[in-house]
Amino acid sequence: MESPAQESGRRIYELVRRRREGTISRRAFVQAVTALGLSMPLAAMLERRGLAALQESAPSGEITIVLPRSLVALDPHGAQSVEEATAVISSHVFDTLVVRDAATGELQPRLATSWQAIDETTWEFKLREGVTWHDGTPFTSADVKASLERVQSLEGPLAPLWALVTEVQTPDDLTVIFKTSEPQGTIPVSAALFFVTPAAHSNDEGFFDNPIGIGPYKFVSWVRDSELRLEAIPDHWAGAPGVQTLVFRDIPEVSARVTALETGEIDFTFGLPADQLPALAENSELRIDSTPSYAYYFNWFNCSREPFTDARVRRAMAHALDLDTIVNDLLQGVGVRAQAPIPSTIFGFAPQTPYEYDPEKAKALLAEAGLENGFETHVIWNPGSGPQDRELVQAMISYWAEIGVTVESREMERAAWLDALLALDWDMDFQTNTVRTGDADFTLRRLYVSSANRTGYANPELDTILVEAAAAADPARRQELYAQACKIIWDDAVGIFPFELLENYVYRTRLTDFVPTPSAVPVFTSVKIAE
């Protein structure tokens, strides 16, 4: 049995949580907590700062973080908008309407408190009241409208997610309405990647060299390719962050980065190569959080080129690979065997029947397709795209040789590889891919509808499913449709989907309360420094 005091405590906690989510109004909140015996000033403080107000919560200390790739730009709307480094900084300085919970994968309120599809082509977002930019200006729907228009006009990699939005309406300061030309169920999903920047300044020259933000940290300074500093906002609406100063340093060389971590020069890094991890795991001053990520490997077939026009040949190639052995030998700690054309972390994931390692079956399939003597082909790939990529290509090539298929490895520099890839000028393509939004639409529709023509594979049935899944507003219906899409892509072997990747966050044990995220965009707001 709860004591009355515990009972009121629990109810206050619940009210604060609901107020944070925006499901009750400010007035209802203050009335409810004062009814539980809290004084008006305390109620107002709770309203403003949440439970943080009740804790010993002043941010303190400094931590140094090194991201796997150098930060190029702070503008979260332009050419760098999908770069993880840009997203990490933006997640602290700016904010999104909704956020994907790192632990559960569910969409949670952030700058928006609620959202709903009013009709097939209209999404309405209610915005959080009382939020201000770091310069004190109130946050309003005009900021959201200006930011979205900026994303569209800059034509960066995020623009396609919003291509169907024809109009952004702002009936009042705290309501935003997105009108789309066709039904689009993915608007809330896309909103989790959409950072709002201040309407008044975003187009100023040099604004993103010294931005005014809205997130839990404010921008202090940035020396390109050297160091970026952020300071905590102690009275942030979502509560005070744990650490006062975040320093992001640039150390591109892996061994220098690992040394800096071991000597305590830096506190946190990730994206290290597999061969570095065993030694780090033995170090008692370090901790490794390993978590499934949004990234995975695939080996596509050019389905418009002989002999990969024949699904039997594609399946034969899949049966030729001993993936369990490859994972054991090459991907310990950084990858696991994939079960679908998208990773298990993604909304829309549905596990499929694995292609067993069976060289005899593979040869039989080739013989059925009239290729009993095997054939010659090639694979294009871009070094550095993922862990152990060179070793993986070599391993796959030797397995394929065993069923009589001679594969030439065509290693290409990224820009040249991208040219070849987009021109469909290849037999097979081996690469990593990341489902940025955490939603199957981002990968499946973009890459597998016939009109995208990315693999030469065309299937009207799949097109219908993917288009309907993107349009549907009901998550359950979308899940069902993606399960069908996963099955078609897997069974038709448009590609081999061998591995999904793990993200390994490595940090000094003085950091606590870090929440690992599958997105490779870690957020440090929850982190505290142990005494």
């Binding site: 150098s70 190029v72 730009a73 503008d75 332009g78 050419a79 760098q80 999908v82 034509e155 960066g156 990699p157 623009a159 396609p160 040099g206 060299d209 020396v223 390109r224 390719d225 050297s226 160091e227 340093r249 640039d250 150390i251 591109p252 060389e253 061994s255 220098a256 980065r257 040394t259 800096a260 071991e262 000597t263 020069e265 520099e413 990224r414 820009a415 040249a416 991208l418 040219d419 070849a420 890839l421 987009l422 690469q431 891919n433 973009r446 890459l447 995208a452």
Partner: protein
Amino acid sequence: MTPYLLRRFAYAIFVLWGALTIIFVTIRIVPGDPASMMLGAGATEEDVAALRHRLGLDEPLPVQYVQFLGDAIRLDFGNSLWLNRPVLSSIGERITATARLAVTAMAIALLVSFPLGILAALKKRTFIDGLVSVVSLLGQSVPSFWLGIMLILVFARQLRLLPSAGSDTWKHLVLPSVTLALPLIGVLTRLVRSGLLEVMYEDYIRTARAKGLDPRSVLVRHALRNMLIPVVTVAGLQLGNLLGGTVIVETVFGWPGIGRLLVDAIFNRDYPLVQAAILCITATFITINLIVDISYVYLDPRIRLQ
């Protein structure tokens, strides 16, 4: 000297134009496209085409070339495609960092190689001479990526005396500049030694000695000054190389120099940035060469600039 300088200036313009033209053509010949790099693997053909149009990349090459030369004459290099900011401010930041590193490395190299070279020449064919030769040979042959990582392991990881990477304080400057200086020490020590040995047998040295000058002033006033020309020439060329950026050392030590910027720009097919960076590096090289040439006059009064 003025007509000489004017001629050198005209020559410099010609070299700059040549360098710019070569880079303009080569970066466009290699496969890859800035628009598709900017949009990433997810972009559709229409997206890429639209961006190419916006960037003016769909114009015929001669049109782009004329446009580019016109802009270059006005020193307007435009915005970096990849960084989305004026290329000149990016290059300015980077060249300052590179200059800091290059000048320090060169200073260390000169301060070490002169005493070593003189010592080796004076103790010709002794154990000390042999030791200096071995050390300078090693300095020249050790690859800088290996040396850099070894220095990090010893001084950052084991001894914890110096930081492993970064560029904030003088401490950050030590390891990368020593890494860069070591091969230079190798080259310069050998030059000082052989140059000194050569002039020591010249008649004027014998005369100076015969006059009864003390050995120190024979060495400093008569011998050293006369062997400076090859040393200054090589040091000048090497300084030019260092100022052009040292990609490997910059990468190993996380130093924000122009070499890394240029390589990243090339990988991203960032045409404006590559072009402006090459122009800057070429101009630096030409200027240093000019300074070296002019210094000859002061080092050796027999030389007159024609």
